[in-house]
């Protein structure tokens, strides 16, 4: 029983989506059941108000009960067909037109639809009622007015309710998505924090420098401290940073690496400042780390890591290039293993730029290069934080 009422009431819970044609018979069936139930109730209330003495007779007469049900179905179906269904599909058809035009069409449609519904439902019920009840014409018209008022009033209330619910849901979804995007950006940024390898290697470097080159040891401790401060502070307040800040960070990182690799690591870094460009925090460091891991560490003679920032129209192209033996790149899948630093970079660039494949790998004669493009205006492309 509970299920049945739930099913009947579900006619009101359509979620603002355009119904599919295949759903229509089911909706019509629901309307019919709805009319069958409401018709007698409305008639009962009407008779109770006007002729209390006739109520018992009405309730005991299957013929009268059936008639009022048919009237209920007639009103329910005609309003649903002319207004509900029409409006749902109409919204889809006129969605593309300018607001004024679509609004006018919608109003005309609703006026014509209402008239049609009243006409069809009214004449049907007039016909059936005259067959059953012996009632004066003015009663009949009062019945009709109450019916129309009820249908319209209920319709407006239900429509407003549904509309409100859809709006609330939409807002909630939007908020949830934004929260999700922000927290995901933050967690990804946190994941991309510096490799422990680097930390221990740096401690080792400093430990070796302490006796012979105390000044260099101190310098590296300062750099290490700055690096950690940056990674700790960078992603808690906002998910984006100035490109120049990020480049400074990478410079420190590379300076420490150069202390380790010495002559084997040759650097080419951009000199000029790039004011007003925002990038996701800690986006370059994983690329630089990758460049060292593949371009410097495995090569006895070492190589070059080159970072370039080049304007490309209203965008900026940032590339990290390393020397390589021209070994073929591993395929995309192994390059972007889940949990891998490059996968992390790609995921964050996706969120930031909205492009499906923001990170571009290129290989050429003796080099491998990872690059991405971002908008060069400060305001655009910011992940809302």
């Amino acid at each position: 029983m509970k299920c049945f009422f739930k099913w009947v009431f579900s006619i009101f819970s359509f979620s603002g989506q355009t119904p599919q044609w295949r759903d229509v018979p089911l909706l019509l069936a629901k309307c019919t059941v709805w009319g069958l139930l409401t018709g007698p109730i409305i008639a009962f209330v009407f008779i109770l108000a006007e002729h209390p003495e006739a109520v018992v007779g009405y309730l005991l007469s299957p013929r009268e009960l059936l008639t009022s049900s048919v009237v209920g179905v007639a009103w329910g179906l005609s309003f649903y067909i002319f207004l509900g269904l029409g409006n749902a599909f109409l919204k889809n058809w006129i969605g593309g037109y300018p607001r004024a035009i679509s609004y006018t069409i919608s109003v005309i449609f609703n006026v014509v639809g209402t008239s049609m519904a009243v006409l069809v439902a009214g004449s049907t019920s007039l016909f059936v009622t005259n067959q059953t009840f012996n009632i004066p014409a003015d009663y009949y018209w009062r019945l009709a007015v109450i019916n129309i008022a009820l249908a319209l009033g209920l319709g407006v209330i239900i429509k407003a309710f549904i509309h409100l619910r859809i709006e609330v849901e939409k807002t909630q979804n939007l908020l949830r998505e934004q929260e999700l995007a922000t927290s995901r950006a933050q967690s990804l940024a946190l994941q991309s924090q510096i490799n422990p390898h680097f930390f221990f290697n740096t401690l080792n470097t400093i430990s070796a420098l302490i006796d012979d080159e105390p000044a260099a040891a101190r310098r590296n401790i300062g750099r290490l401290a700055d690096l950690f401060r940056y990674t700790l502070g960078c992603c808690t307040h906002s998910s984006t940073v100035d490109l120049d800040q990020e480049l400074d960070f990478v410079r420190d990182y590379l300076a420490i690496e150069q202390e380790r690799f010495r002559r084997r690591l040759n650097l080419e870094l951009p000199e000029s400042p790039n004011p007003g460009i925002q990038v996701p925090g800690l986006i370059l460091q994983p690329l630089v780390e990758n460049a060292i891991k593949h371009g410097i560490a495995p090569r006895i003679e070492g190589g070059t890591v080159a970072i370039r920032v080049q304007p490309a129209g209203d965008r900026v192209r940032i590339t990290v290039r390393n020397t390589s033996d021209g070994e073929p790149l591993p395929d995309e899948r192994s390059l972007y293993k889940p949990g891998h630093a490059l996968d992390n970079v790609r995921a964050r660039l996706r969120m930031f730029t909205g492009q499906p494949n923001p990170l571009v790998v290129a290989t050429g004669f003796g080099y491998t290069e990872f690059g991405f493009e971002i908008s060069s205006s400060a305001a655009a492309g910011k992940v809302s934080a």
């Binding site: 422990p196 390898h197 930390f199 221990f200 290697n201 401690l203 080792n204 470097t205 430990s207 070796a208 420098l209 006796d211 012979d212 202390e259 380790r260 690799f261 010495r262 084997r264 560490a297 495995p298 090569r299 006895i300 070492g302």
Partner: protein
């Protein structure tokens, strides 16, 4: 005195290790190496009793170096800055290792065990094999020099006058291992023995040609044709996914 070789690609790391070892009067540092090739050269040349071996290195890493060593290898103490998987393997197999930056008491303990000569060299070799996965490079000799050949460039390995050679498209390089050793060493990397004196890189096999009385021939990437002995033919076909 324990003749010791220091192997680390970072100059600073070697400096601090040298300094740490200075406290031990029975340790004699006979040489240093900064990459895998140099390490193999120095090991062959200086015959140290102990090698302090960094794992992360260019050319060949520490594990790969151990695999290229010939019979009767020196004692090995691995050094790493951060390799939790390797460290777990070392712990499980009681293999000596040091973490960078090196603490003096840990160094002392590792050297103590070397002095007692309790190191299980087979465990060192096994762990190295396990940690480095299939070999991708092979150490070979070009004249007096040791060179590292990527295995994908090696087309086949052959015996001539009891010497073993790795053949690439352009040259033949001497490998100081027996063909049996190479067969087991290179099997995971896709090499197969086709006759008593020959291994081929399955990647370079282009054609299988039926030959006389159950034998086959393979045509290789450099258009050479080599005989496959009858008992090896089946393995070769299996490995190539035929039958």
């Amino acid at each position: 005195m324990i003749r010791t070789l220091l192997v680390d690609d970072e100059e600073l790391a070697r400096t601090s290790m040298r300094r740490a070892l200075a406290d031990f009067t029975d340790i004699e540092i006979v040489g240093e190496a900064a990459d895998g090739v140099e390490a193999l050269e120095k090991i062959a040349e200086l015959k140290p009793a102990l090698v302090l071996l960094d794992i992360e290195m260019p050319g060949l890493n520490g594990f790969e170096i151990v695999q290229q060593l010939q019979s009767d290898p020196p004692a090995i103490v691995f050094i790493t800055a951060y390799d939790e998987y390797a460290v777990r393997a070392f712990e499980a197999n009681a293999i000596d290792y040091l973490l960078k930056p090196v603490r003096q008491e840990r160094l002392e303990r590792a050297l103590d065990r070397v002095r007692r000569g309790t190191q299980r060299k087979t465990a060192v070799a096994d762990i190295s094999k396990e940690r480095s996965g299939p070999l991708r490079r092979l150490a070979a000799r070009r004249g007096k020099r040791i060179v590292i050949v990527p295995l994908r460039d090696v087309i086949r390995v052959e015996i001539e006058d009891k010497l073993v050679f790795a053949c690439t498209a352009t040259e033949r390089l001497l490998v100081e291992k027996t063909i049996g050793e190479l067969e087991t060493m290179l099997a995971p990397s896709g090499f197969l023995r086709i006759s008593r004196g020959e291994l081929v890189n399955l990647e370079s096999v282009r054609e299988l040609i039926p030959w006389f009385s159950g034998t086959w021939r393979v045509k290789l990437a450099n258009n050479e044709e080599r005989d496959v002995s009858r008992d090896r033919a089946r393995q070769l076909k299996e490995a190539m996914g035929i039958e």
